[in-house]
Amino acid sequence: MTVQTRPTHRRSAASPDYLILIALLAVGIVLPYFMDSRYAMSQLTLFLIWATVVSQWNIVMGFAGIFSLAQLVLFAVGGYTAAILGKYFGTDMFLGTLLGGAAAVCASLLIGFACLRLRGIYVALLTFAIAQAAFLLINSDTNCIIGSGQTCQTLTGGPRGLSQFGDYGFRQLLGRNYIVGNYYVALTALALAVTFSIVIVRGPLGFAFKALRDNETVAVCSGINRYKYQLLVFAFSAFFTGIAGGVYAAHFKVIGPSVLGFPLLAFLVSMLVVGGLGRLWGPVVGAALLMLVDEQLKEFTEYRNLGLGAIIIFFIVLLPDGVAGMIERVSKKFRGQLGEKQGHWGRWRTRLGMPMGNKLHKQSSANS
């Protein structure tokens, strides 16, 4: 397996990831002291939430090889669970958020049982169909569970969504600066999610998936059960995704079916790709980059989406391994770990339409 080919690189790989995590966490912790704009704080919180979702999505799609488009369904399950518990049972939002994570795990097992025996694009289509069905069912939910007419309250709140279910209570504690409280909750969620990602990617499961991807026959023969491992990863990542949903609901104090809509799906998928699918830090980089770009584009109101679309195309065509992939290549080149012909220039050459020198460069993209 790959482990044997590059042992030195592998052994040293785990610790830099934790160091990066600790460094980023430190920055994240002190950041609010330098921010006085609540808008910026709120956007940072939203960034943390999306980064949590895409970091888990990345584990599912980039490492476990499950082309799932249902990640936002799990997000919605988490958010709606927290909101429903808060609204109808008065559950504390912290507890609700955790239970939201648990509910997302249950949902992921159901979806996983149905989808994971399929491969590739069929998983994408099926999970997309599930997301659509959920979106339509919530949007057309008009059955009152309490009251009727003016006082009608449907379970999911229909297209308007649910609100008035409480929050983390920071408003009473911190007044106008309550966002800072939400920010730290979101930061905690992201830190846990990324730690989990590191454990998966750099641990035995990561090797198992790498083996499956590199040579499935050999991997299966050495006793790796793809279905079992995929289900495991899908369920674990659902937990953090569900938590992110709960944080979202508590932060905005409302959750509606727009989280299942296509525009958000497209936005988050772009984060994955721009950052670098299958790269540990890719999604975080991608989320940060796209939130920043989107922020700049807001000045141009009507042209905002246009710019976003153009950027997605630009990145996927010119940098298909994303920003993280590019950074990796550049840094590897500096460290001299890669020969010239497999490296940076080799890729550019093929992209520019020049003949492919050899096929080795393909492998380098699979080994992150």
Binding site: I121, Y122, L306, G309
Partner: protein, 292 residues
């Protein structure tokens, strides 16, 4: 009797519309192994092109439709030149192209919004009148949609089966590397398919918009239904997609009448999910077309 006729008629029209949406998508998937998320945008581009050529340039509809097809073909070619050409050799083409075409869909939807606004214009190409079966009035428009979808499917089928280009496309679909070794110019095959599907999408879009009217997002919902149809049919099987589209259309209409409109589409989705678990490669699909 009267009820049954109305329901079946509605279902056939729905099925015809679904088939129109699915043909281009199915072709591109089958031939190029790419899930084209910009397919909805292509539908919209074609119908806006027809609308603009007729309304702003004052060109008769007899010419406006072919011109719109040419416009669709040019857009297809542009997609190949700007995007697909740079990507189809990449090992993760299958996933990357989905993202790229999402970007493309966003761009073209917003360009249409900028040029035409979001006002729901009427598609000038529409056929008035109809005939009666007993009490029931059957509009010609519905029949034309059904006829048009069958003709397009037949054209695609003949083209794939009986022409040199079709053989090259099928060879590429079966095994890209082998085709390349046999001297098939894959790049040209990709370009041809993109142009062809652009033309197809233009016709489909025009026909769809005679019923759904024009809007920048008009392609979104047909595209989602087309995904489902293509998945149930088995990816890349154009005839299969047609039968499934008609079948699902009629089934949806029956569900709408039987259990209520709001549950019809979710029920259909459920059925699709179950059927995919039962027949993972679709009803008309075969394992060989699927790339892993």
């Amino acid at each position: 009797m009267e009820t049954a006729v109305l329901v079946i008629l509605g279902g056939l029209t729905l099925g015809g519309m679904y088939a129109l949406s699915a043909i281009g998508l199915s072709l591109i998937w089958g031939a190029l192994g790419m899930l084209n998320m910009a397919h909805g945008a292509l539908l919209a581009i074609g119908s806006y092109a027809c609308f603009a050529i007729f309304t702003y340039l004052g060109i008769s509809l007899i010419f406006a439709v072919p011109l719109a097809m040419i416009a669709g073909g040019i857009v297809g070619l542009a997609i190949y030149v700007v995007i697909v050409r740079h990507m189809f050799r990449h090992p993760s083409f299958e996933t990357n192209i989905i993202i790229a075409t999402i970007g493309l869909a966003i761009v073209s939807e917003n360009l249409i919004l900028r040029f035409f606004g979001a006002y729901p214009y009427k598609q000038p190409l529409s056929i008035q009148g109809g005939f009666r079966i007993g009490e029931i009035f059957v509009p010609y428009q519905n029949l034309i949609i059904l006829a048009c979808s069958s003709v397009l499917v037949a054209i695609v089928g003949v083209l794939l089966q009986n022409t040199r280009m079709g053989r090259a496309i099928r060879a590429t679909a079966m095994n890209k590397d082998a085709a390349l070794l046999m001297g098939v110019p894959i790049g040209r095959v990709y370009a041809q398919v993109m142009v062809f599907s652009g033309c197809l999408a233009a016709v489909s879009g025009i026909m769809l918009s005679t019923i759904t009217t024009l809007s920048p997002t008009m392609g979104d919902s047909p595209m989602i239904k087309a995904f489902i149809i293509v998945a149930v049919a088995g990816l890349g099987n154009v005839y299969g997609a047609f039968y499934v589209a008609i079948g699902l259309g009629v089934l949806e209409a029956v569900f709408q009448y039987g259990i209520g409109v709001r549950f019809a589409f979710p029920a259909l989705l459920l059925l699709v999910i179950v059927s995919l678990i039962w027949r993972p490669y679709g009803f008309f699909g075969s394992k060989t077309v699927v790339r892993n």
